[in-house]
Point group: C2
Chain length 349, copies 2
Amino acid sequence: MSDRDQLDERKVTILKAIIKTYLETGEPVGSRTISKYTDLHLSSATIRNEMSDLEELGYIMQPHTSAGRIPSDRGYRFYVDQIMQEKEEEVTEIKDMILKRVDRVELLLKQMAKLLAQNTNYAAMISAPQYHQNKLKFIQLSKVDDEKLLVVIVVEGNIIKNTMIPIHTELDDEGLLNLNILLNNALNGLTIEEINLEVISRMKVQAGPHCDVVDRVLTEVAAAIRGDDEDLQIYTSGATNIFKYPELSDGERASKLIGTLEQKDLLQGLIDDVNSSESGSGIQVYIGDEAPVKTMKDCSIVTANYELGEGLRGTIGIIGPKRMDYEKVLSTLRNLMTQLDTILKKDER
Amino acid sequence: MSDRDQLDERKVTILKAIIKTYLETGEPVGSRTISKYTDLHLSSATIRNEMSDLEELGYIMQPHTSAGRIPSDRGYRFYVDQIMQEKEEEVTEIKDMILKRVDRVELLLKQMAKLLAQNTNYAAMISAPQYHQNKLKFIQLSKVDDEKLLVVIVVEGNIIKNTMIPIHTELDDEGLLNLNILLNNALNGLTIEEINLEVISRMKVQAGPHCDVVDRVLTEVAAAIRGDDEDLQIYTSGATNIFKYPELSDGERASKLIGTLEQKDLLQGLIDDVNSSESGSGIQVYIGDEAPVKTMKDCSIVTANYELGEGLRGTIGIIGPKRMDYEKVLSTLRNLMTQLDTILKKDER
DNA sequence: GTTAGCACTCCCAAACGTTGAGTGCTAACA
DNA sequence: TGTTAGCACTCAACGTTTGGGAGTGCTAAC
């Protein structure tokens, strides 16, 4: 039996009114307020009866006897799933910001996080795309000086990684050229699974005295494809926005929340969850206890996946109070996604 | 007339006791406490008289009549300059952490910030080294696919920067090789001032049809040497530590402080100040209003400059309450500096 | 110069009363 | 049967009062 079946139209209207008012004020909503707010023209007494029913059904609750009602998690969920309709939300500045040539993905991500935080007045997080199952596109070894070799690795999606490795055996220009050719011929276009022992041992034979270099390079290639740069690439912005919402800004809660935003590995859990239980549209809403991170049980989190061409995917998240403006957040995210999409597609110069 | 002259030995002992106690408890210190604490064997009444003098001289103050005394900014300053002697402080984990091959400066910095925050229980910030006036060490152009050229630029100090640029004119392997040779011959070892119009125009002539590529590359080189990656490379950690100190953790203050830590451009002001008014040892202490950032007037900030070989310098900062454990912080910083120094010097493989 | 003693100040926390918003229930009405 | 007015009741929030405790400044005696 779906939620809809339990509620007649009037109950829905009232629930909607309660939640909307609560989203704005953050204060428990009383029957008189609703009686005047809606165009149902019902007295507060009638509303009280209905509210009593709604409470019994679990959509709203009282913080204490003789206070107004606030939405329960279930109430929010119903609102998000059934009632809400998105606004058309302008994402200010986004075009300007993105069109301004950004050559490092990192920078783009930081800017996006900032943008989102500013637009929504909530905290924003964004994870760098994960290059899982990507192919190697290009390798280049260069001699920077007599002792060091610069390794540049380009993975499909134009993710670039460089490392310095020390030279132990003598290596002249010709040897270097050969190594470069060897590496590129052997490895280009392969995924990490395809670089197996057979490929590796054949390369080592061909590399002869420089097989130690090959070894080192392979380690780096593996790291590059896996994308494990040791630190989880997650950027956050607007953490201080949570101070705007009294229900989150007492010392205890604020500390934990901001701590979570600072400690990126906790956010990783969130992202993993998003990716594992992904829904159709790619946008998900976690309300209260639904969140996979315990420290955020007093919040709501809205996440979306973005695509950076060539199958690179990352996650964006907005973290705010349960009474966040879901309509605004959802439409802002959707809007951002499409804008990002078109611009990035065009940007494939 | 120096501070010392105003104070006899007993006053210094008492001042020291007051400050030390306050550093631990964060509560105003009364005369009776001091009377028992010190080995002066004086009654509280006597202490009261001395405290009255100390207050008149501006070293301590009362939050209100009939409360104990707390140190004034001047008191802290006196403590830091005159009384304090550093502890030998172990920086746990530092060796392990740094010895673990870290190939990207960025990562190293993040780890150091984290380390400092954990060790001190204050907030830590660290700025990436600024490459001002550095020389170009190496350039490499490679053809990644038919439409894109990968530019890798290495600046002295082994800072690596890469960009993709589009190819407009036909470019075969031989042309690419020539371009590479041309660029390296013309530019290597030059600082940004030395790359003048003469050098540029000569290169363009030699580059012939590919002078647009040269143009693009030069832009990137300039950016790389200047190190202006648009975003200020400042990392912070342990912002939530400030919640451990009640005098900083009320909503208003906490929000502003964390906001400042989040908004890196404000921190830049701090760093600039450090660099302009640098003292001998390289370690500086800002107490309260001395801080160049207004939002930190309730804090103390301890900064130090580190050197990453080849003249690359950056700044580390610890931000905490005025009653921070100066001895610990100073010695931790000094310790970190030397360890960092030796390890980095050795690490120049 | 040092100390004991005392009156005084002021913060803090608990106790108390008041207020007002909001509820649940009942009885009357259409 | 659904709606409404009315009323008693509840409870958080707020302001006031009160007592206690920590700490001071001053005075007088040692």
